[in-house]
Every structure is written in C-alpha cells, then in structure tokens.
Subunit: 286 residues, 6 copies
C-alpha cells in the first residue's frame, strides 16, 4: 500500500511501476493557504497533460528520456483542510519514494509543501544543500494565521535542513525585514554566476532544488498565483541547469503553477520542460 | 470596532454607515473546503462590481432600492485555514449585524459559511424557518476529512436550527442516502408550488433564505464550482420571490458564485439581481 | 460614391453589388455611448464571420437564402466621437440603401444608431410601425450627458416616428418612470400573443423591427454589454418571426452584440441566425 | 493485444480491466473532417476529467454507478489523416468491445466515427434500431470532398444499418433536400412523445443511441463546433432517458464535444452527466 | 466638494483622506477615442485590485510604502461623450490635487487625458520637463476626426508645456512624418543611457513622467489596446526609475492598461508595480 | 480563373487586383496534420484583421507600405482531408502568383504547406536558398502515419530544393537524430551572426524565408500549437531582417499562428508585423 493515488494523467514516457526506476515523480494538488489567486492544485495534472507534446531529447544536456527509467507515481493522497497534515503527508510520501530507491521529484501545488519533502530528503542526506529559485523570499515566520503558508515556505525548510545551507537565487520580492536577512545571511545569490561560485566548493554534496515557477518572468510564465515582474527567462534556467549538471542533485520540486490563469497553456509547457530537465539531471547523477 | 474590513467595492446604492439602515450586506470571501474548482472567494467582489450596471427598480416587486436605506458593511475578517474558525467568525459578524438592528444578507463564498449565519439568526429568532435553493442536498455528515465542508452545509445548519424546519427546493443531486432522507423527511419540495403550499401555514414566522446559486441551471449561471445540469431559470426564482413576498424574510445569503469560471460575467449579473431581490424583500418586510 | 466601406468580411451568400438585390445589409461598428462594457463595435464583423457556418435553408420559413438576391454593403463610414454625427451618418446611409431600391437591414453596434435608420425609413413610409425586442425600455430623455445614449434609443426613435406606433415586447428592465410610461401608453406587450393581437389590425402597414439582442436571455446570448436575466429563448424569437411573416416587414436592425464577451461564440451564432431570419422575411415580403 | 491506448484519464468509478464488466467505454479523439471549429479531439479527455465531480447516484433512474461494473478502456489508437481508416479502426475497436462481452459506449470526437461503431453493433444485432439526437440531419452524400465528413454521419450509418430503422429526434438544421427526406421518410420525430410512440411497438429490439451533443441548446452546451440555436435542455434529455428505460439499449455514443470552446466547463459537465445516464441504461438492461 | 467619486477599490495602503499626505492618486476611466480595442476605462480599477497582492517594500529603491502617507482620491467624475470636456475635467481635478498640497499621480484610461494633467502641473511649474515612455510617438495633429485622440496625446501636451522640453524614450511606432520630427527635434532618446545624459543638466527641474504602458513589450504587458512588438522589459523600467531617483519628480501618470485583454492578470500586476515605483519616487522627492 | 477565394478580410493597404503589384499575399487555412493543438487554420484571417491596427511605416527599414503596390489574393481553395492534395494546391497557387509577376508571400496554416510553395519558387529559381526560422528541426521522414506532417516540413522542402542550401536558425527542439543531422550537415546556424556569415558569399542568390512563428519565444507569441520555451524576441527578428535587407528575397511564408490560443491577440499582432517586414523586403528587392 502506497500513499499515492494513481488515477489521472501521467508524465510523458513515465512508468507506473517504480521497479527498476531511478527517479520517482509525484504530484501534490494542494493550494489551501493561497491567499491571492488559487489554482495550483491543478498544476500536476496540467504538467502531465502538456508533457505529451514535448520531445524526449534535451539538446542542452544531450540526454534523452528514452534512455532513462523513471516512474510517475501519481498524486499524494492528502488530507483536506489545514496545511500541517498536508506537509506531514508529503514527508511520508517522499520517504516512501526514497525507500523505493528513487530520487524524488515533486510537482506542486503551492510552495508550502516543500518543507515536507526537504525534511524527508534531509533525513537521508544530513548534509543536504537547498537551492531555491523563487521571486519571493518566503521567509515569513507566519502569514495570515498559519506557520505553513506558502509565504513561510523557506522559513519552514530552514527548520528541517540540518546544514542550514540554503541558497536563494536573485529573490526580487519581500519585506524589508526579509531583504535584510537575505543580505546579512549571504544567502541571496545575485545571479547565476554567484550561485556557481558559491556552489563550487560543494562538489559531491547532495542538492535539493526547489523551483517556485514565479522565479520566471510573468512574460514566460503568467500562470502563477502571485506573478512578480522582473523575473527570468528560459536561458537563465538553462544556466542553472548547467551549474547543477556539475553537482549531485538528489531531489527536487516544481511548484506554484496555476495553469488556469494562463489560457494559452505556455506556462504549463514551460513547467513541463523544467520537469524534463530535472528528471534528466536526477537520472544522470550517480 | 466591527468585525468587517471595509476596503474594496460596494453594492450599488449602499451606504457604508449602518445608521438608519434596515438591511446589512456583508461578504465572506472564503472557499477553503472547495474540492473541485475553487474561486468563490471572488464572489462578493464580483457581485458588487457588476451591481453598478443594474437598475435600482424591480418591476416584479414594484419596489426601488432608492426608497430604501441599506448598508454594505464590507468583508468579514476571516481567519485563514480550517473552516471551523471561519464559521465562528461568520456567526459573530452576523450577530454584530443583528445587534445594529439590521437584517443580515451575506454574500459568499462557499456554502459552508451559512451555518454560522443561521446560528446567529436562530439565536434571535428561535422559530426560524430555513429555505434552501440548491442543486445539492449538502447533507453529508462529513466530507474529505472535515465536518464543515460545503457538502455538509445543510447538515450543520440543521444542528443550529431549533425548529428543524428546513425546506429544500427541488434538490437534484446527492447520494442515494441523501435522497432517501430528502424524501422520508418530507423536506424536499418538488417545485415552487409545493414550497408555496408548505409555507402557507407559516405566515409571520421568520424565514432565512439560503441561495446556493448552483440551484440555477448552468446555462444561466455557469460560474459556480460544481455546476449540475437540469436546474432553474430566472422565472423560477421570480416565482420563489413571489412566494416569499407573502412571508417574513429576516435574513438570507447568496453563495457559491465563482465568477472567474464565467468570462462573460453573466453569472455575476444574475447573482447581483438575486441580491437586489433579497435586499428589497428584506427591506419591505416589517 | 457610397457612404460604405467595403473592406472586411461579408455575410454568407451576400453579393457586394446591390444591382438586382432586394435586401441591403450594412454594419455600424459604433459603441461610443456604452457606459458599462464596450465592444458592440465588433458585432457586425462577428456576425459576418460565423454566418459562414450556418445553413442557407430555414426550416421554419421553408425559405432558402439561395433563392434570394441580397447585398452586404459593408460598414457605414462613421465619424469619430460624439453620437449625433453617427446617427446622422446612419440616416444618410439608410436613405442611400432605400434609394437603391433595397430593404435596409442594419447590424450594430449599439442601440443608439436605430433612430437614424428609423428616421430614414419613416421618411419613405410615414405610417411606419416600430416593433422593439429589448430587455430595456430605452426611454430615458437623456443619459450620462447625452440625448443619444443607447439608454435613450426608443425616446429618440419616437421623435422620428410619425405614427407613434411603437410596440415594446416584454421589456423587463427600466426605471419606475419608464415602467409607468410602458404601462400607461399601452406600448408594452406582455408576450408574443399580445404582440400578435395588437398587430392584427395592421396588415399591410410597413413594419420596422429593431432587435436589441439583450432581449434574449443571457443564457443563450451572454455576449452583450448589459445582460439582463429573465429573457427569451430561440423559440420565442421563432414565434415573433411567425407573427411577422403575416405582415409587411420593410426594414430592421440587429444591435448590441458584444462578441468578445462570449468566448464560446454562440452569441454571434445566434445573432447570425436572427439575421438570416430577417433577410428571409425582408426578401419574402412583396 | 487490444486496439486501445490506456494512458490518460479515466471516467469516474471505471475499471481498467474489462473482466466482469457489463459496459465498455472508449474514446475516439478525432476531429479530422471538422470544417468550422476543430477541437472535438479533446472531448473524451474532458468528459473523463470533469466526471470526477459528479455524484455516482442518478435520482431519475434511482440507480448508482457503484452498483455496476464498467470499464474505461482508453482511446482507440487511430491512424492519422483521412477519415476512412479512422472509421475502420472504430469498427474494429467496437467489435473488440463486443467480443469481450461488453456493451460499447463511445466518446467522441466528431460524428463521423459513429458509422464504424454502428456497423460493428449491427453485425451482432441485425435488427438494430438507431436513434439520433442531433441538431443537424447529417444526411449529405458527401461534404467538402469526403464521404466520411461529420456532415454525412447518418448517411453512412444508414448504409450499415440492415433494418434501416433510424429515428431522428427534432432535427432543426439542414438543407432543403435533407428536410424533404426527413419528412418524406417519416424519420424525423417532432418531439419526445413522437419518439415514444414510434418506439412503442419495438420493445425488445436492440437500440443504438447516438448523441450528437449539439442537439442540446447552445445555452446549456456552448462547447461544440457548430452550435445551432433552438435546441433542448436537460429536462428533454431526461425525457429521452425515460423513453429508453423501457427499451433495450445495447450501445451508444456521445460525440461532438469541443471542450476548449467553453471555458466555463459546463459543456463537459453536461456531457459527463449524459454519459452517466447511458452507462446506467446500458448496465441496467438485461 | 471635490471632483472625485470615491466609490470602488483603493490602491494598497492608501488613505481616503488627503490630509497629511504627500501623493494623491486618482483614476480617469476614459477610453472614448480608442479606435482599435477599447477597455482602458477598466484600468484604474484593475490596478487597485491587484495592488493588494504586492509587497509594500521596493528592494530597488529600498523604500517602503508603509513609511509614506499617500491618498487614493478615487475616480475623476468625467462627462460622457467627446474628449475635450474630459481633458478639461482632468485639468481641474489635477489642479485640485495640487491645491491640496499633493503630488498628482493619475491612472488611466487612455493617453489623451495626459494633456489635462500636464497643463495643470505646468501652471504650477512653468519649467516643467515632460518624459514620455511610449511605443508610439502620439504626435498626430488630429486623428479620426478629433484633436484629442490618444494618437495626438503628445501633440496636445506640447501645446501646454511652456518649456517645450519633452523627451520621448525609444519610440518604436509612428508615421514617417512623426519619425522625421522625432529625429529632427532631438526629442527621441534611443535608450535609457541617452535619457540619463539628456537629463543630467536638469537637476532640480520639475519632472512629469507619463507612462504609456505599451512602452513595455507585449510579452510582459499584453493587456493594452495597441500592442507593439519590440518593447521593453521590467529591467528597462527599473533603469528609468534609477535615472529619475536623481531628479525631482513632481507628477506622473500610468495610462493605456486594458486589463480585460489579458486574462492572466499579469499586465495589471505590472501596472500596479509601476505605480508603486512612482508613488515612492514622488513621496521621496523633497 | 484563379485558385483563390477572395472572400474574407484583407491585409492592411493591400489591393485585390494584382495588376501592377510587386508582391502577392495569399492564405492557406490548413491545419489537418496538427497532432497537438489545432487552430492554425484561423491564422491568415487573424493576421489580416489585426493588421488594420499597424502603422504602414517601418522605422527599421525606413520604408512605408504606402509607397508600394501589393495584393492580397485571398485564400487558396484547398481540398479537404489528406495533406498531399493540399501541398499540391499550394504549389499550383504559388505558381499562379509567380506567373502574375508577383513575389509570393504565404500566410499559414501549418508548416507542411511550405514545401508546395518552395517547389513552385524553386522551379523558377533553381539556385534558391531556403532560410528557416523555427523552434523545431522538422526533419522527420514521417510522423503519425503521413510524410506530409508539419513535423516533416523541412524534410519535404529539401526534396524540392535543387541547391540543397537550407539554413536553419538556432533550432532548439528535435530528436537526437535530428540534432545529429543539424550539426553534421552544418545547416544549424547558432545565432544571427552565424546566419549573416553563412549568407555573405551568396549575394544575389534568390532567398526564400520560411518563418515558423514558434521560433519566437512563447512569451511574445503564445498563440501557436507547439510552443517551445527558450525562443527569440522581436529584436532578434529585426536582426534577421537586417541580414536579409542585404540579400535578394524572392518569396516567403509566415506559418503556425494559432490565434485562438492567445486571447490577448498579441501573437496575431506580432505575426502581422512580421508580415509587414516581409512585404517591405520583398517589395524593395529588385
């Protein structure tokens, strides 16, 4: 008995059966703490649907999904209502994926779910490094009455990250207090080159990459709940992939896609292509 | 200090100051338990916005909003997360409206909020009768892990309704068990004439009308989370208004508008016209 | 030199050259006085575009467009800005159509344009009867600073209608004062049968039919600027066509389609089918 | 080896494995001959997706999907390009469903696919009666260069229907020649009562019901390629279900849903509820 | 008595009462001369609505709205119809804002309204410099029959700008004649560095910034009536803000948002963030 | 008798009559092989419609459409069904345009139509060079059962291009095998400078430019069937125009616009501006 519900679509080329696979995708259709515009619950389904229109081959990495065994395990069966039980369910599901010998790749859903997955991965990899792509600092202690709001996602992750090694790439929105912390802590990387430099000494350490899709500019990804002008384009993400290809990625997530806000569907296509890159990075890593 | 937040729009012709008014509108932008398609949180704002395009005069009732003093008090300041505290906040807000000497008219938001308002009104009017327009029975004891799901709305209302006098007009969707209860209890009215007959002996008793907008056919109101084919048209609602005009309406609510699901905006216009009818009925009642 | 601009689409099966035709369509892409939601300027183009998907044969009338010669003259070249010059341009264009020996059929645009066309037709037919399908009375003397607002459309038409014989079918929205006038004047027809009865003595008199598409229920025509719940379905329009088929229709208009408000396109399809009926009625009349 | 591709969604409560089932659903995502607005290829996926929001219980029939075993076999693996091979693939797939001992229920896709399914069913049931719900006659011999256009659907069905017993319910659009045939053949049923009367002598004969969803009024189903004003509401369909519940339904199809044309999603919900009715009718039949 | 109508939404963190404030926002919901795609009338409301989702802190300027007192005065009460009276009303409203001791910040509406505001500000600051961000030159003498079309916006502004010092940043669309004037006059700045250089000698002079949002690339701001490919991204606007932070901004406007053309809402979010920058620049200036 | 159907819209400033013109536009509303999201059949109409909002003057080229005679010949009358006959019809239509002494500019429709036009142009210009802007390699031998899929567009073009001189600009999606061919053949140009260098020796040779609009980034052109993140902005296209302005462009096409996928309309505006550039390049060339 697994904590997953296998109905619904499947990511292009995935297997249902995890046996023999190296990577395990799963979705968390949760948007319970979203204060502005809900809908990230539809993110995993949208990524799976449009993935069918992608090529399996990635020219940047010169890798092909067809050469890799990976499973799409379906949706985590989440309890309804408050966020804490959801985070706990995510932690259990991620642990189950790790126990199957797979590298976890979680599709959100809102960002609050990341701390559950990070906790599970950090249990297995105590020296885990967390890399965050995001428009927002997400360092609030509490927001609108809950400590598990998506606006608190990184604050919660820091609590379950033994190493405390969090790198936040080019955060562009937050409170004055959050920006003070970003700068004083040295966690804010100004650009991809700074990220590359900061990670250079960490070859071989396990990396968890959390991709809040609102890191991208609203021009390329309008389908997200709190779009923030001034973001990044695909080429910037490709540069991050290039950095990571020299490191040891052990887990990741792709969150905050709200597909119904972008009737053109290009936000979902971008999210699916990000997912393809992460599957290949996770699968290529020894 | 009131439990309302007065920012945002205002219903056509309303005052902000409740002094001297007979009816008090307020919104509850909550959709936390919605399992299928969220967005009723945007309902109150949409009703207010499109209300500006309506006439103040209602030919059916031959009454004009311009002859009536009514206030739009704004949004209830709801806690974030689980539904119980929201229902409690709604009850307190409704009590505050009653204490101001106003008849409450609540704009949702999802249907789970109704039990808070019904509880407050039943405290003042112990012989309160509850009339429900709805596509769904909403009689589940629990749904997806919470007793305060919108699928449980009427079950919770029954618990706070001393008289137990609930009339459910032409419910067309539910479980086999719910339909068994609908029929065995005698609460399901097959049509408006049946409602008229059932209410005939109750002249003078206080009435609370809860309008789950999915009672209407999806043709006239596509903007709702769980549309159910086979519903009612405006003429049917006008017949209900005609029935109620001979009774003593003391409170009401208009819930489950999800305006972003209907890009034409006609769902919001219908909801605003329903609201106009209820303001006039509440204001006309002695 | 004609007052028309022939670029853009064309109604299904129409000719460009009016020679030998019996009916002359033209568009007036004007929405300058629209106070709520603009966009009727796009109405004529949308009607033309979707007309290509209709059959030419009408089972109700057992008439086929293929058996009739009719022209689509294009758009009236309207001056930009205030409404008076537009109304004057419409009058001149309608007169030009009449001078070509064609029966005019105007596609709007907002309702304020109708008085220009009615004036031209009444010059040729002093005993003209005006039949209005509309949700709104449109009898304001002035609205938002102009006497030519679409909310004043029928007030202006009455001024250029020598007979004063206006029949307003089942108007369902207006001010208290407008409804007082509707009832005291005897101009409001409660239903199609009342229209039939009222017109019975008028066999042979020239009829102008103005169809404000918001007469239809928003369920079947959401694409209009001021939708009003409680309207009519296609079968009701077919009944009006049946009444008119026993009379002498000499001109007509189809106004207030705002196609961009209905992304499904069914509003435009309905308007095109209404237009087909009117072409056939105009063409069949001797 | 089956002709189906089982990736993608699944209809609410269906099994993947046909063993022990009485009804077999399958989808045909084909819209190759659509001349006006394509997109019915997305119909089966949309019906499956929104089916999850329906109740399993049908109050009209007092039957519950939970009491029935039925399978969703997935999509027919159709060749790309011209329509003939698609129709052939549909016939083979339908035969495969019949060979499994299941009653076939096909989700389209455009109407041209029906002749493949009818051919397969008529092979097993030579006295098959075909009942058509549709806005259009679909009796053209050829359309836009192919004999397998959706505008020729019924012409092709007649060729593979040994009994020739086709009943066409209240067709409202077609050419003059098609209407001549409809009336002279006696195949056009003017209303549901006429259908009931015509079928009365046929108790026990096998029935195939083809539901072109544009039979419904565009108000309740705007999401179809060639919407035709003047159609039917849910209550009318319920009346047809009532007629059929006294007969022996052996197969059916639900075609011409173009979900992307209706951003509110209510067209898909209606189609899913139609599908629920048909599953229950097929499953109830001995 | 003020010329403003205070109903409707409010910009994040604004006060209604101007007492003690340094900046005064107001909206002008006017799109009367728009020839192509109307809808900028909805701009002010959309900016106010989405502003609620922004942070108050601006990392670029290291300034926080919470440290500043500013008022949102509501909508200018504009006459309906021709543009001249609207421009006059805007001039009076802007003068009223200045008389209250506030720096005016106007939200459009179409660009034709700017000359009214510029006239009022230039009355107080005769050496006013006007800086224009725009895709279009807007230098036509007349357009479609009116001298106050939005295509004439800068021509009209030049007439009320005593200094004649207008800088037009990287205009990319216009007639051959407009481009000739842009180049011969030296008013077209090729890029932000050129703007910086041109303004260097003008420290201390009062600046009015008019932001026609179509200056941005349609990728980041699709919601405008006449989108022009080849525009600017957020980083370019940030560079302009950097230039202005060394100057004395005394007034500004943000015009030509047509929110209904961008269903994702990101255009409105961008416009709200531009507005936040301008409030902070206006408030910071001594 | 021409192979064109002249009903429908017309590109800004075009003539209907080809006499005396230098450039001949025509549309091919075909999307029959589109496997993912159809709708490019609506491309030509959308380009024509929004072209009316563009200026005639191009600042980059300092050329004005008003100084040039060019015709919009309408739509190619294409047979319905399989792609081969469509490609043949395109070849005949292109030959007809060449025989009229016009330079052909084709508006798609899907990319599979290009080989028909290239074949016709190569018949007249045997040393024709083909330049491809595209996200995808389109070098498949066959796709989903047809050799004329849009995924095979360039493979088919190569078969009718005697010189074999194809340059593929910065292709970013394909199979491993396609990328192997791209690199081994030397046909993939990494950037515009590489294109400029490769073309430098070819002054005076006839050039055909095929613009698959998905070459652009989905940010600036979301309205296409298979959007691929990581594409180009307007400035990149302007650089290509600059390269081509030094060469001899003899024909071109603009394909794969699916306007209904981008409700903001900016994709169509971009496509129309691309078309304007190509008309000017074709008209300027001797």
């Amino acid at each position: 008995m697994t904590p997953f519900d296998s109905e619904g679509g499947i990511f292009m080329g995935s297997r249902r059966d995890p046996a023999g696979c190296r990577v395990g995708l799963f979705g968390v259709p949760y948007d319970g703490t979203t204060s502005f515009r809900p809908g990230t619950r539809f993110g995993p389904a949208a990524i799976r649907e449009v993935s069918q229109g992608l090529e399996t081959y990635c020219p940047q990495l010169d890798l092909d999904l067809e050469d890799l065994a990976y499973a799409d395990l379906g949706a985590v069966d989440i309890p309804f209502g408050a966020p804490e039980p959801v985070v706990n369910a995510v932690q259990q599901a991620t642990t189950a994926v790790l126990d199957l010998g797979l590298k976890p790749l979680m599709l959100g859903g809102e960002h609050s779910i990341s701390s559950g997955a990070v906790a599970a991965v950090a249990n297995q990899h105590p020296d885990l490094v967390l890399v965050q792509l995001d428009a927002h600092a997400d360092l609030r202690e509490e927001w609108l009455g809950t400590r598990h709001s998506h606006a608190c996602a990184m604050r919660r992750c820091l609590e379950v990250l033994p190493s405390g090694d969090l790198l936040q790439l080019a955060i562009r929105s937050g409170t004055r207090s959050e920006f003070h912390e970003l700068h004083s802590s040295g966690r804010r990387m100004d650009d991809v080159q700074a990220l590359r430099d900061a990670m250079a000494p960490w070859t071989g350490r396990p990396i968890y990459l959390t991709v809040d899709l609102d890191w991208f500019d609203p021009a390329v990804l309008p389908g997200t709940g709190t779009p923030e002008p001034g973001g990044f384009l695909w080429g910037d993400f490709a540069a991050v992939v290039d950095v990571l290809s020299g490191h040891r990625l052990v887990a990741g997530d792709v969150v905050e896609l709200a597909p119904q806000l972008d009737s053109s569907g290009v936000s979902s296509v971008l999210a699916a292509k990000v997912t393809r890159s992460l599957i290949l990075l996770l699968g290529a890593d020894q």
